[in-house]
């Protein structure tokens, strides 16, 4: 007897769990051949709000972890991603129509990106921080600390590598993340949630939404609880709207113009300067002997 294929419904990843959208809506994820790949939960702005709440609640504890431990967890993300590499590669291939070799290359680069930022976690403070010469009996130094809750708006293309490249430096900085994945190719975003859940990432530190950028971007821009935005693949109009909304509560906004092969440029995408956008500099005056 012919077996009915069981198609998976891909869910959102919020606060360490996999809710369906609060709205009950779903989107059909179509493959490059036009066939139905799966149904995807379609995040509403209430889901966004829930995710931001979870990210806010998780931030203090994430920041309180040692940089070394954040590095370990980022490395674990890379490990777990590697373990499911083939699932990601097949999803990318089917969704984009890329050949399998290209899709695998994207997954490998994503693993490497997590590993690169795992390395940076306890080293970027030495690059971005400094000891300041002051005229007085003080030992004066500056250290970077994660800004807070950061929204990531991922590009449509490089649906995994783009998303990972935007998330990793932010997590590395000590921020928590609410990410809106690729609208065109949403499945890797959801699988990444499954990777996060088994990677020692504390609940709420990474939250992943799939949905329509046009519906959510203004709410991201204006949300008072979001402290920073890391985005790529934006149209001029979207970028302008984001900056206008972000100005209300003085969000830190970094919009990357990386695209295509640019995501494979390690010099650019694995730099402490990608972390720098998501830290606050804390300067300490410590009395020292006269």
């Amino acid at each position: 007897m012919a077996r009915t294929e069981v198609l998976k419904t891909y869910k959102l990843y919020i606060n360490g769990g996999f809710p369906r959208s609060e709205s009950g809506r779903s989107i059909k994820a179509l493959g490059a051949d036009g066939g139905l790949m799966a149904h995807i939960c379609h995040a509403s702005r209430k889901d966004l709000r829930d995710a931001v709440g979870a990210a806010r609640a998780a931030h203090c504890k994430w920041l309180a972890r040692t940089a070394y431990n954040r590095g370990q967890i980022l490395y674990r993300l890379g490990e777990m991603l590697e373990g499911r590499a083939e699932e990601f590669a097949q999803a990318i291939k089917q969704s984009t129509g890329d050949d399998l070799r290209t899709a695998r290359k994207e997954v490998q680069a994503s693993v490497d990106r997590f590993v690169a930022y795992a390395g940076w976690a306890d080293k970027f403070p030495q690059v971005l921080g400094c000891q300041n010469p002051v005229a007085g009996p003080y030992y004066n130094f500056t250290v970077p600390e994660g800004t807070g809750v950061c929204a990531v708006v991922a590009p449509d293309e490089a649906s995994l590598l783009g998303l990972v490249s935007l998330i990793a430096p932010v997590i590395c900085a000590g921020c928590t993340v609410v990410a809106l994945g690729s609208e065109a190719h949403p499945i890797p975003t959801s699988i990444l949630g499954e990777v996060c859940q088994v990677s020692d990432v504390p609940a709420g530190v990474i939250n992943l939404l799939m949905g329509k950028r046009g519906e959510l971007i203004d709410w991201i821009a204006g949300h008072g609880e979001i402290d920073a935005v890391h985005a790529a693949g934006m149209s001029e109009k979207e970028a302008k709207g984001l900056r206008m909304g972000a100005a209300v509560n003085v969000k830190r906004v970094r919009i990357r113009d990386t695209s295509g092969d640019g995501w494979y440029d390690d010099e650019v995408c694995e730099s402490p300067w990608w972390v720098e956008g998501f830290v606050e500099m804390k300067t300490i005056w410590h009395p020292s002997g006269a």
């Binding site: 709000r49 931001v52 806010r56 709410w219 204006g222 949300h223 008072g224 609880e225 509560n249």
Partner: protein, 284 residues
């Protein structure tokens, strides 16, 4: 039955202008509460400023109904709220346990009233009630009502300790007959605190009393209502159980501390079209 009926009130969709109107009504019904061992005069003064002007960015908002504090801080609250229309409520009678001799509880009440409390939130002796000594509980409420003088008396049943809806109903009837102006679910110190089901049972006791005597008793759910959306569900329940007359701070209150900020955040979102941050609003 009660649970199903209570759940049915959560199915209404209240949006935009109706939501705005509803949230304003809820805000005007809040008993802004601080009942912690670490409460200080300055915290209470700060809370009183918030009670009078909940959000400095929107002066069209109503003030809350009352500020609810421990007896020791009534004088401070009274001074800070002078002339504002916000009432001072004080817990008394050996709050939150009620496990004190009756003369101490009466003295506690008298002093709070003398210090200027407009409303007294008393606790019943749940131990006596559960042991079946209902006459004693009745007499206590009656004597404390007398000690209140002109101050309104709210009787806290502490429904989280009463085990069943039948007992909640019995305690509600008892409190109403003994002279309560308001009946109130909880101290906020026991979990579970207010639930919609338990509030519905108490609202029905109030309704039956009104139908048989024509006297209107007030209701105050307290504890555990921290979201604006939930407070709107309560409004729907009150309206559909008791009618519009009870949609008034004189007959319905929310005992809450964190609810106010969620109301203010929702109102700000309606006003500005974006989600505000928690840290835009002061705790006290």
């Amino acid at each position: 039955m009660v649970d199903a009926r209570a759940a049915s009130f959560t199915k209404r969709s209240i949006k935009t202008s109706m939501k705005d109107a509803g949230l304003r009504i809820v805000l005007s019904m809040v008993d802004l509460t601080t009942l912690e061992g670490k409460d200080s005069a300055e915290k209470v003064r700060s809370l009183c400023r918030k009670a009078i002007t909940p959000d400095i960015n929107d002066l069209t908002l109503p003030h809350v109904a009352a500020v609810c504090v421990y007896p020791e801080l009534v004088t401070t609250a009274k001074e800070a709220l002078a002339g504002s229309g916000v009432r001072v409520a004080s817990v008394a009678t050996g709050f939150p346990s009620g496990q004190f001799p009756i003369d101490v509880r009466l003295e506690d009440t008298r002093r709070a009233v003398e210090a200027g409390a407009d409303e007294i939130d008393m606790v019943i002796s749940r131990g006596s009630f559960l042991a079946g000594d209902r006459g004693k509980v009745y007499d206590e409420i009656a004597s404390i009502k007398e000690a209140c003088g002109d101050a309104h008396l709210k009787v806290i049943l502490e429904t989280g300790e009463l085990e069943t809806y039948d007992l909640v109903r019995a305690a509600s009837d008892l409190a109403i007959h003994a002279g309560a102006d308001f009946i109130k679910t909880s101290t906020g110190k026991v979990s579970p605190a207010a639930t919609m089901s338990v509030t519905l049972v108490m609202l029905e006791a109030i309704r039956d009393h009104y139908l048989s005597t024509g006297v209107r008793i007030g209701m105050k759910p307290a504890g555990g209502i921290s979201k604006a959306k939930l407070s709107l569900h309560y409004l729907v329940m009150v309206k559909e159980t008791l009618g519009d007359e009870w949609l008034d701070p004189g007959l319905f209150r929310f005992g809450a501390s964190s609810l106010t900020n969620d109301l203010l955040m929702q109102l700000a979102k309606l006003r500005e079209g974006r989600y505000p941050a928690k840290h835009d609003f002061s705790d006290a």
